[in-house]
Amino acid sequence: MLTKVTVPPWCATIAVITLYLLPLAQLAFQLASGDLGPDPAKRLMQGTGEWGLRGLAIVLLAAPLAQRGWRSLFRYRRVLGLSLFFYISLHLLLFAQVYVGWSGALLVEELKERPYVLVGFSAWLALLPLALTSTNRARRLLGPLWRQLHRLIYPATVLAWLHLFWLARSDLGEALVYGVVFAALLLWRLRRAQLRPR
């Protein structure tokens, strides 16, 4: 027999956020103790980027799991979504600080000339309105539009994956693994949309 858990919901929410942000805390600690090596920016870029991608996969996994009756993850989509946006925003801030030195001209040049920067930035842009409309109030105000708007997570995922794929120089292993995971998660939705009566 399962006993009803009586943890207040906000406690569980904080636990989920903490768990997902643990890798960031570890990076911050390593940064403070000088353990990230001679080029900490690179390690931080990798860490924040990877956890952003993993966050996307976790959030996209919530619906298929809920359909199989495991709704726990589904409940935390909002906080997970916001936290993954936090990772990706840090990723972008680091890029501005370390790679373009806050130079607008250099940023424009990067966007124009380097497709992986452009698609990465576009992924962040696509997620921005989702983060801004994540409150209950916004959801009420937007009504049925809200659901449509939040489908932006699908193109954002594809763009984020392209960003990773374009960064691979000689070993495609990582891009392949994420590709398979994202493809499975997106195909599941495609199939669900086809099965659903219109």
Binding site: D35, P38, D39, L94, G101, E110, E113, R114, S170
Partner: protein
């Protein structure tokens, strides 16, 4: 010779050199983590590491050396691109110890009158070693300043007596799957062995060095032991590591990165802030060690600061086309 290299704390301490000094160092870092670890650990790591390499005798070549702050030994030996051992910067320091570098022979041949096999000992005793402090600029837009020990490639080439039709020099890295985990990755698209090449006048240029050491000791394996090329005015990928073959050729040799992605990597690969790489702007570089609050971004110089010495080699060439 058993040598293991410090990389980061994710390695079990049992996997690292059993030297007492090493354990003390780890305790020291742990105790001071978050406070002065950065400042304290660098010199002590260097001390432990240097002991594992043997000392070389050489004379400093002040004329061909930079007067610049040298990148700490620790950074030079833990932040490497040596894809034979993995694509992460810390992979070579972690896995290169698997490579056997003793005995070591270099096959020399092609269009020369004196082909043969050279043992490392002959190379080390046959040439006067010099120390050259050079800028090292990676195509990924980071850079270091490294005190190399070696001898000009020209001295070796002259002994081989290249024939008149020899216009290029080709180099190959050791390819030993059993000892190089990166070459066993089935998602890697590099066609091993790693190969590089130079035009013969570039190869004969007095700045072009065959390095056998750095910081006064023999090369650590992750830096391309026991013998590597250093061409300071070109992007780092031209400075091929752990060389087992040198051939003089008539035709321009195929080079690994160019074979992989010709639109991104050229044969010449001269450091050029004016010609961007599709992935990285080449106008600036992060001079390591860099930190997030002080990225240490400095403008990149044409020919990596060696224009005065080498620009003449490329007179009349369109360097946008021959990148």
């Amino acid at each position: 010779m058993k040598k293991r290299t410090y990389t980061d704390c994710s390695i079990a301490s049992s996997d690292i050199t059993p030297e007492q000094v090493f354990l003390n160092r780890r305790a020291l870092i742990k105790a001071s983590a978050g406070t002065m670890a950065g400042a304290l650990s660098a010199p002590s790591i260097a001390a432990a590491e240097v002991r594992a390499q043997s000392t070389l005798s050489f004379s400093p070549d002040a004329d061909r050396s930079l007067v610049d702050e040298q990148t700490p030994y620790d950074a030079v030996t833990t932040y490497n691109n040596f894809y034979e051992f993995g694509t992460d910067k810390s992979d070579p320091a972690r896995h290169a110890h698997n490579m056997t570098t003793d005995p070591w022979t270099v096959k020399v041949g092609g269009l020369v009158n004196q082909p043969g096999s050279l043992h490392l000992e002959d190379l080390l005793s046959g040439f006067d070693l010099e120390e050259r402090i050079y800028r090292f600029r990676c195509v990924e837009a980071w850079s270091m300043v490294v005190p190399w020990v070696g001898f000009p490639l020209a001295q070796l080439l002259k002994r081989l007596e290249p024939k008149a039709e020899g216009k290029f020099v080709e180099f190959k890295t050791l390819y030993r799957r059993g000892e190089m985990r990166g070459t066993r990755s089935f998602t890697s698209i590099i066609d091993w062995p790693y190969r590089e090449g130079l035009r013969i006048d570039e190869a004969l240029h007095p700045l072009t060095l065959l390095a056998v050491g750095l910081y006064g000791k023999t090369l650590p394996k992750q830096n391309g032991a026991p013998l590597r090329l250093v061409v300071p005015w070109k992007y780092g990928f031209k400075s091929i590591k752990s060389i087992v073959e040198i051939n003089v050729t008539a035709k321009q040799p195929k080079t690994s990165w160019q074979m992989l992605q010709p639109s991104e990597y050229g044969f010449y690969a001269n450091v050029n802030p004016e010609v961007d790489h599709p992935r990285w702007s080449q106008r600036f570089e992060r001079k390591l060690p860099s930190s997030i609050f002080k990225p240490n971004r400095v403008p990149t110089l044409p020919f990596n600061g060696y224009a005065e010495q080498v620009a003449g080699l490329y007179q009349g060439m369109d360097l946008r086309k021959f990148y």
